[in-house]
């Protein structure tokens, strides 16, 4: 009870302070607020630079993708590293390594109505998922590859691809998914993803430019002009992100659903 009183006080203070700060804000949706148009006396507005110059710099119509993978590509690389670290951390925390005789066998309590084993091999679910999974994967690949022109990109596509494997594990069982995408494979794939991303960066360094300065890759990619080199490199980078995200999303699910044993699953 005491903790609830304390929590209420702390939360009310926090909320009050935040609202006190909000009072100074320009109205919601104001196109001339500082984030949208810069401040008077400051430099050129970043957001307006992105909107007006991105296509000139990179030939990528989806500004979000361009900013994500090029202007702020360093953030995105470390974001991928965060995902990778999470996969590793979950392995380190939960994975039961070695050939155990399953001491963590579930106790079937009465309220665990979910754990009726028979549910998994139902014919309707099985058949539907068998049809749907390839479509999900195809859509995932499209999202990765078409992220320049439409919403999407490495993360979204990677999550879709990863969730297609999760769907496989849900509709049949975890082993069926692991047969197609084993633990060794997904960790290799995850590391390869980051390697691809960072590889693009280091390639630029080898060509004596800064890390992730894709423009210089035109010599290697044989594109006309640095803009197209940027555009193509972004695709490569997104593919790397998609690799890592696919692998780690599935690995997180596999570990969480089987309590780290990678057996049975849900």
């Amino acid at each position: 009870m005491l903790s609830k009183v304390f929590a209420t006080i702390a939360v009310v203070i926090t909320g009050g302070l935040l609202l006190y700060g909000v009072m100074d804000f320009p109205a919601f949706g104001d196109p001339h607020s500082p984030p949208n148009a810069g401040v008077k006396g400051g430099g050129e507005s970043i957001s307006q630079y992105f909107i007006t110059q991105t296509y000139r710099d990179t030939k990528v119509p989806n500004i979000v993708t361009a900013v994500l993978a090029d202007y702020r590509g360093y953030d995105t690389m470390f974001e991928t590293v965060v995902i990778f670290a999470a996969g590793m951390a979950i392995f380190a925390i939960l994975r039961v390594v070695g050939d155990n005789n399953d001491p963590t066998k579930k106790e079937l309590s009465s309220d665990d109505a979910l754990s009726q084993k028979g549910d998994h091999n139902r014919i309707i679910i099985g058949t539907t998922c068998r049809i749907i999974i390839p479509i999900v994967q195809l859509f995932g690949l499209y999202v990765v590859a078409h992220g320049h022109h439409s919403p999407g990109g490495g993360f979204q596509g990677g999550v879709l691809l990863g969730s297609s494997f999760i769907l496989l594990a849900l509709s049949q069982n975890l082993n069926a998914a692991l047969r197609r995408f084993s633990e060794k494979n997904y960790f290799t794939l995850a590391a390869t993803g980051i390697l691809i991303y960072a590889g693009f960066g280091v390639a630029c360094q080898i060509l004596e430019k800064n890390f992730l300065d894709y423009g210089v890759l035109q010599k290697v990619l044989f594109t006309d002009g640095p803009e197209m080199a940027r555009s193509h490199s972004m695709l490569g980078v997104e593919v790397g992100v998609a690799f890592t995200v696919t692998a780690i999303m599935f690995s997180i699910y596999a570990n969480l659903s089987s309590r780290g044993t990678l057996k049975d699953g849900l």
Partner: protein, 170 residues
């Protein structure tokens, strides 16, 4: 006051969601509930950031590079805008300057008026934050499972009692 409420409606809701989430993180006893609270807290922050980048009557930040030039600038709303603010006038020369760079066919489409598009930067930042959020959630859920395995419960007070009991036995 009413005007303040109306103009900042999104920010009000963000603060309320943040308060709900933070309250759950501190006060809830069940670990899973704490994590749901934490996720709500994080989405509230994401809502705040996305609200920063919203512009009235704007479209999504994807250029329509296949469209003919006229379409973008034909929007009647923008014809009278430069007179509204001084800041605005400065941008036109730049857009014109950009036109010089491009002599190709779609030139009008990329000489885009900044006010017609949502600010892309908060979106980029929040993509990162969402992904970081799910990574944290995964780690926290793994720890919750481990706690359940070792203590047989997910209620914080019971966990603390078991720890205290164990200490007394030592």
């Amino acid at each position: 006051m009413v005007e303040f409420f109306e103009q900042h409606f999104n920010f009000w809701i963000y603060v309320i969601l943040m308060m709900i989430g933070l309250w759950a993180v501190i006060a809830k006893n069940n670990l899973i509930k704490k994590l749901i609270g934490l996720s709500i807290f994080q989405t509230a922050i994401i809502l705040f950031y996305v609200s920063l980048g919203v512009k009235e009557n704007s479209t999504i930040p994807i250029l329509d590079h296949h469209a003919p030039a006229a379409e973008v600038s034909a929007d009647p709303h923008h014809n009278d805008e430069p007179s509204e603010t001084g800041n605005h006038g400065e941008l036109h020369p730049k857009a014109g300057h950009e036109n010089d760079h491009h002599a190709d066919a779609h030139v009008g489409a990329h000489a885009v008026e900044p006010d017609t598009m949502a600010n892309p930067l908060p979106h980029v930042l929040m993509l990162t934050a969402i992904v970081v959020g799910v990574a944290t959630l995964g780690v926290a859920l793994a720890l919750a499972q481990l706690i359940y395995k070792e203590f047989g419960t997910l209620e914080e007070n019971e966990v603390l009692e078991i720890i205290k009991g164990g200490e007394a036995n030592d």
